[in-house]
Symmetry: C2
Subunit: 367 residues, 2 copies
C-alpha cells in the first residue's frame, strides 16, 4: 500500500476516528486505526465494539492495500510531522514507513484480519438536524449523566422524538436536564437511550457551523450518525428509561426571576468556603425582591444579596452549589426563572417555552 | 483596621507576596499574608523563612491596624470578587470582614504576633539590571538546577559578577547552563549561590518591560531584590560552588552549524519513539553537510536528515534528547553552533561571544 496525504487532511481523519479508541483495553487490535484503500477511496476506521467511527480521508492512492496501525503512536507522529505531504507505505510484513520531508518513521502495523469493521445498520428510522444543534443539546445535558453500575440508564441520555420535536433527557438521581429542539423536515418518532460516552465523543468532532447538517438513523439496537464524510455507529442502552413525566410538576409556591450572571457569580464565590469533604449546602433565603445567598463553614461565612423579582411566598432552601452552577452555566438567557414549592421539593429552572428544564433536588440545612 | 482597595491593586499585591507562601508547612502562620497598615502605608508580607516578600499596596487606610490572613483563602476570595472596590475590616478578635458590592465574606485571621517580618539586610554589595534581563537569565538556566539531597549546590544557581559582567550558572551533573550579561553602571564583584526556588518564584513577578530596572543587594548570607514597590529577600546557599572552569574546554574536533528550529523539530519527533522507562538515546551521525538523527526503539525507528555546515571530523554521538531540546529551546538565535570532541566528551552549544554556553554530556549507545 502507498498513500499520500496532506498533513491537514491526515490529521483531521486521525483525530476523528481516534474518538473511538478505548483508553484501556486488553485487545491490542482495538487500539488500532484501520486504514483501508482497497476499494478506491481511503477509509479510516476505529471500533471499540460499543462505538465505531469510519471516515473517508482525502489522499492519493499510489498502491491499494490496508493496514491496522496503533492509533496513539500514529497520531503522535502525524501531529509532530512538518506541515507538508505525508506518505504512508507498507510492505508485506505490515511494516509502515511514514515519510515527510526529511523524516522517515518506521513502525510495525498489523494485518487487521481480526479487526471489526462497523456493523451494517438497518436504517429503520431517521431524523435530521444541524451538527451544531446536536452538539449544543449534548453539551447542555451530558453533565447530568452518571456512570452507575447499579443503573446503566443513568450513563445514557434519552433521545425521544414526537411530532418532529427532539427531546434529550439526562438524570443522575439528584437532578434532571431536559432540552427540546424542533426538527425541520420529516422526522420519525423515536425513543432510545444513547450511551453518554458516545455523545461525549461525537460532540468533539461535530462541526460548529449551524449550516452543516447531519442525519441520525435508528435501528433496534444501534444509532448511526452520518455527517460530512463520517459515520459513527453506537450500540444503544437497552431497557426502559425513567418515567420522567412523573418527576416533573408545574406546581409552585414561589417563582423568582434572577440575572443569571449575578446569581452564578454569587454561588461561585460561596463555593470558596465549602471544602469538598464537608458537603455544606448553600442556603438561598428568598424574600420580596431579594435572594440572600448564605454559607457558613469551618473556613468562614458569606452573605450576599442578589436582586430578584419574586412572585408568591418567601422561602429558605438549601442546595448543592455545584448542581445550581452546572445548570445555570448551560443557559444562554440573560435572566432565568426558578420555580420553588417548598424546602423539600425540587426546584425547576425553565424557560416559558420549556425548551429547557433543569430540575434540582434541594438538600437539608440547619439555618 | 479598615482598608479600601481597588480589586486590581489588591489582586496584584496578593499575587506578589503569595510567591513566598510555602505549599506545605506545619506552621500555619507561614501560610498567612501579613497586612500591616500601622505605619501610614499598606504593606503585605509573606515569609517562609527562606524566602520573604514584602510589597506596598495602594489603598485607603480608614483605620490603621494589622492582621495575618490565610493566603490561599484570601487570594481565592479576591480573585472571585467583582471588579470593584474591596473593603477589609477587622475587629478586636481578628475576624476579617471582606466586602465588595453585595458580597460579605467573614473569615478569621490571626494577630500575627508570631509572624516573622523580613530580616534587615546589610546592603554590602549591589548590582543593577532590568527586571526583564534577570527574568531571561533565570529562565534560560533554571532547568539545569536539580534539587539533590546529596549536593545542595545543584539546587541553586551561581551568580558571579566580575568587571560588571554577571554570569549565571546552573548544573545538574549531566549538563551545565551558563549565561552572561553585561551590567550597566557601577557593579560590585560578587560570587554567591542563590536557591533555584527563589529565582523561580521571583521570575514570576518580575516585569516583562525591558525599561523596568531593579537593584540586587548582597550580604554574607542573603540576597535582596528591590523593584517597583517590592522587596524580595532570600537566604543564600552556603558553601563553595563547583569549579566550572575545569569543566569547560574549547577543544573540539567537529563544529557544526544547524538551523535551530529544524534540529529541534527533528529531536522532538525522535522522542515519540522513546518511552520514559527505556531511556534510549538519540544518535546524531554527523557527516559532511548532514546530520542524521536516528532512534531505534521497541516502538519503531526514525531516521531524519538535517542539513548542517560541518568543520572537522565526522562523528557519531548519542544524547538524552530531552537535554538537547531543553538547551536548544532556550536559544533565540536562528542558527546554533555545536562543538564536539569525541563520543565520550561533552558537547558545547555556544555563541561566538559566549553569552551562552550549554554543556551536555553524551550517553553510550549501540550503533
Amino acid at each position: 500500500m502507498k498513500l499520500v496525504f496532506s498533513k491537514s487532511e491526515l490529521s483531521k481523519g486521525v483525530n476523528i476516528v481516534s474518538k473511538a479508541i478505548p483508553t484501556r483495553t486488553s485487545m491490542p487490535i482495538l487500539e488500532c486505526i484501520m486504514i483501508d484503500s482497497t476499494e478506491g477511496q481511503i477509509k479510516f476506521t476505529a471500533n471499540d465494539m460499543e462505538l465505531g467511527i469510519e471516515t473517508i480521508v482525502e489522499g492519493d492512492i499510489l498502491e491499494k492495500g490496508k493496514i491496522a496501525i496503533d492509533a496513539k503512536i500514529f497520531s503522535d507522529i502525524v501531529r509532530k510531522l512538518p506541515d507538508n505531504d505525508i506518505t504512508i507505505q507498507t510492505d508485506d510484513n505490515y511494516n509502515a514507513l511514514i515519510t515527510c520531508e526529511n523524516s522517515k518513521f518506521n513502525i510495525s502495523g498489523k494485518s487487521g484480519d481480526d479487526f471489526s469493521f462497523l456493523p451494517v445498520i438497518e436504517k429503520q428510522k431517521s431524523i435530521r438536524l444541524s451538527q451544531f444543534a446536536l452538539r449544543e443539546l449534548v453539551n447542555q445535558t451530558i453533565f447530568c449523566t452518571a456512570p452507575n453500575d447499579n443503573n446503566k440508564m443513568m450513563a445514557g441520555e434519552l433521545f425521544e422524538v414526537v411530532d418532529s420535536e427532539l427531546k434529550v433527557v439526562a438524570l443522575d438521581g439528584h437532578r434532571i436536564a431536559i432540552r427540546k429542539k424542533k426538527l425541520e423536515g420529516r422526522a420519525d418518532d423515536v425513543k432510545v437511550v444513547v450511551p453518554g460516552k458516545t455523545l461525549n465523543e461525537i460532540s468533539k468532532i461535530l462541526s460548529t457551523d449551524a449550516d452543516d447538517m447531519m442525519n441520525i438513523y435508528f435501528s433496534n439496537n444501534h444509532i448511526l450518525f452520518e455527517f460530512d464524510q463520517t459515520i459513527v455507529v453506537s450500540r444503544l442502552i437497552e431497557g426502559e428509561y425513567f418515567k420522567i413525566s412523573q418527576m416533573l410538576s408545574s406546581d409552585y409556591e414561589t417563582k423568582i426571576t434572577a440575572n443569571k450572571k449575578e446569581m452564578l457569580g454569587s454561588i461561585d464565590r460561596a463555593t470558596l468556603l465549602i471544602k469538598e469533604s464537608d458537603k455544606k449546602p448553600i442556603i438561598l433565603n428568598i424574600t420580596d425582591g431579594n435572594m440572600e445567598v448564605k454559607v457558613v463553614s469551618s473556613i468562614g461565612s458569606l452573605n450576599e444579596n442578589v436582586a430578584v423579582e419574586k412572585e408568591g411566598k418567601d422561602i429558605m432552601i438549601g442546595f448543592n452549589p455545584k448542581f445550581l452552577m452546572d445548570a445555570l452555566g448551560k443557559i444562554d438567557d440573560e435572566n432565568v426563572d426558578i420555580y420553588l414549592l417548598n424546602p423539600k421539593a425540587p426546584c425547576f429552572i425553565r424557560d416559558k417555552e420549556e425548551n429547557y428544564i433543569y430540575l434540582i433536588l434541594p438538600v437539608n440545612f440547619t439555618a
